[in-house]
């Protein structure tokens, strides 16, 4: 009861600020820029969303498919690579800095190259961009979590004559969990951006990316924003799923406790 009341009072400020922001946005535009909105007021975006619902839903499904498959592949590969690399101390020390460096590369620029590889209208090239973009943050974070373990915990396990696999299961993996979920949250929004931008270069023409470009080209900004809104919703849903999974997987973790307080 008090927990519920507490959660309500905690969510009050963001909700209030959000509503105030929306009202400000709407009223400001109504007063200053009555026609030809480049940034339309929220009411018109909602109207466009309703009007073009079937088109937007199709785009959301296609883009969502690219995001989900690319994301899943990137996360699985990232975790596997991290597990593999941490088996070998020297490999870990040399590969992680390289991965960090590669992460500095604007991977989205690879989109046209992937188009050449996998075909211009195939979604594979877009999935590949998402996968590569997701791989590095996951790999780097999980590796960090698997290796940055308190030495005393490892020594304790050694004193029990635990095998390396047992140490991994009992110490390293639990330690890596917060890092893993953190990286999931990071890539949840990255993958949306990656997919939509990759769609500029190629892939299905009825996905969200092309829809935004075409609507903007025709100065139908409300339609473009409606498609952007759909993309944002995918990101928010993914983020929420990551946060939910985090809470279910490790109810003991401090940041979860803090959030639940």
């Amino acid at each position: 009861m008090t927990g519920l009341r507490h959660r309500l009072s905690a969510s009050l400020p963001p909700v209030a600020f959000g509503l105030a922001g929306l009202a400000l946005w709407e009223s400001l535009l109504r007063i200053t820029d009555p026609r030809g909105f480049v940034l339309p007021p929220p009411s018109e975006i909602v109207a466009a969303l309703v009007d073009n619902w079937s088109q937007i839903w199709t785009g959301t499904r296609h883009t969502g498919y690219v995001i989900l498959t690319g994301l899943a592949a990137g996360v699985i590969l990232g975790v596997l690579a991290a597990l593999l690399v941490t088996r070998f101390r020297s490999a870990n020390e040399t590969i992680t800095p390289v991965a960090t460096a590669v992460n500095a590369i604007p991977i989205i620029a690879l989109a046209p190259v992937f188009n050449a590889w996998f075909g211009l209208i195939s979604p594979h090239s877009n999935q590949a961009v998402v996968t590569v973009l997701v791989f590095f943050p996951v790999f780097i974070n999980v590796t960090k979590g698997l290796t940055q373990v308190q030495p005393s915990q490892i020594e304790l396990m050694r004193s029990y004559a635990a095998r390396e696999r047992q140490i991994t299961r009992e110490v390293r993996i639990p330690n890596a969990m917060p890092f893993f979920f953190n990286s999931l949250k990071i890539v949840s929004s990255l993958s949306v951006i990656a997919a939509i931008v990759a769609e500029y270069f190629g892939g299905r023409q009825d996905a969200l990316g092309p829809m935004i470009i075409q609507s903007a080209g025709l100065t139908r900004y409300d339609d473009a924003w409606a498609a952007v809104f759909a993309g944002a919703m995918i990101g928010i849903v993914l983020y929420a799923l990551a946060a939910l999974a985090e809470r279910l997987a490790m109810p003991w973790h401090a940041s979860v406790r803090e959030a639940a307080r």
Partner: protein, 326 residues
């Protein structure tokens, strides 16, 4: 032995246990510094080997596909990427294309990529600086007011799920239309910077806030005991304490600003930068695939460069404190 160490050795002859501890600490620090230098040299070497390995992998895959007719050896089945010279131009062609002029007697591809990279760097750097300023301002604002933090922070986080890079064309039109009141004439490339700013401010704001909150309660009490003002505490304690948190965010932001600039150019139709170059060469892919590869390599180098610059700054600033980069 340095002069200081000689002095210390002298003092150590007297029985001051604290000075003796200090000698040990200094020796350990010196050892660590040497280790760090060795590590960074090795890291560079490994990265070079990695790049060479990537090239060998490319050539190996291509050679394999061409000898088997684009099928996996032994197990059979089609390769995911075909290996003809159009899809995978020879590595040698990609490398030599840098030196070749685009038109007979014209500028070389390398010099075009160089000038495009500078153009993109200007967009990215402008956006980066603006993003850092805005991000820090938000961090200070959220630090100042608990209510703002609770009300605004979720929206700052939510803002990143809006794929604003995706709406670069709209941003450009909006900026051209609405930012005329600024004291300078608004340029199209500055709209691209605006997108870089949007991607930059977020990591700076979030990590900045964490960093500003990082001082121990004792350090804050110390400042209070000096009757220090809020501003004095901000500039003398909170801000310097936030730097180890800020630099990793700045590195993220630097990458993001380059991504924002490249993507912004592509969709905003701004000419002169790397993003536009990549788009052009993607369009003319069939007549010169190696040029697309070369320009993508240029973008990769630009990304490495900006992060390298921030990394050097980090090492300089934190190294002077005897701290290590986290």
């Amino acid at each position: 032995m340095s002069r200081l160490e000689e002095q210390l050795a002298e003092i150590a002859a007297t029985d001051d246990p604290i000075i003796r501890d200090q000698l040990i600490v200094l020796a350990v620090k010196r050892q660590e510094r040497r280790q760090r230098l060795r590590n960074s040299a090795r890291r560079t070497l490994v990265f070079v080997l990695f790049v060479i390995g990537l090239g060998l992998l490319y050539m190996g895959y291509k050679a394999m596909g061409q000898s088997t007719g684009d099928r996996w050896p032994i197990v059979g089945g089609e390769l995911p990427v075909k290996t003809n010279d159009l899809i995978m131009p020879p590595l040698g062609d990609i490398l030599t294309s840098f030196g070749r002029p685009l038109r007979a007697g014209g500028q070389t591809l390398a010099s075009l990529i160089w000038s495009s990279a500078l153009f993109t760097l200007r967009e990215a750097a402008t956006g980066f600086v603006a993003g850092v300023v805005i991000g820090l301002a938000i961090a200070v604002l959220l630090l100042r007011s608990r209510l703002l933090e609770r009300g605004l922070l979720p929206w700052v986080i939510a803002s990143q799920t809006i794929p604003l890079v995706a709406i670069a064309p709209i941003v450009v039109i909006w900026a051209n239309k609405n930012l005329g009141f600024l004291p300078w004439e608004w340029q199209k490339w500055q709209s691209v910077s605006l997108i870089a700013t949007y991607l930059t401010f977020f990591p700076v704001a979030v990590s900045g806030l964490r960093g500003l909150k990082s001082p121990e309660p004792e350090a804050l009490e110390l400042m209070d005991s000096y009757a220090s003002t809020w501003g004095q505490t901000l500039f003398r304690l909170r801000f310097p304490a936030s730097l180890p948190y800020l630099f990793p965010a700045l590195k993220l932001a630097a990458t993001a600003s380059v991504v924002g600039a490249i993507v912004g150019e592509i969709s905003a139709g701004v000419r002169g930068g790397l993003g536009r170059l990549i788009l052009d060469f993607a369009g003319k892919y069939t007549t010169g695939p190696e040029r697309l590869y070369a320009s993508v390599i240029g973008a990769a180098v630009l990304g490495l460069f900006v992060v390298g610059v921030i990394g050097q700054a980090e090492r300089f600033v934190l190294g002077r404190r005897g701290q290590e980069a986290v």
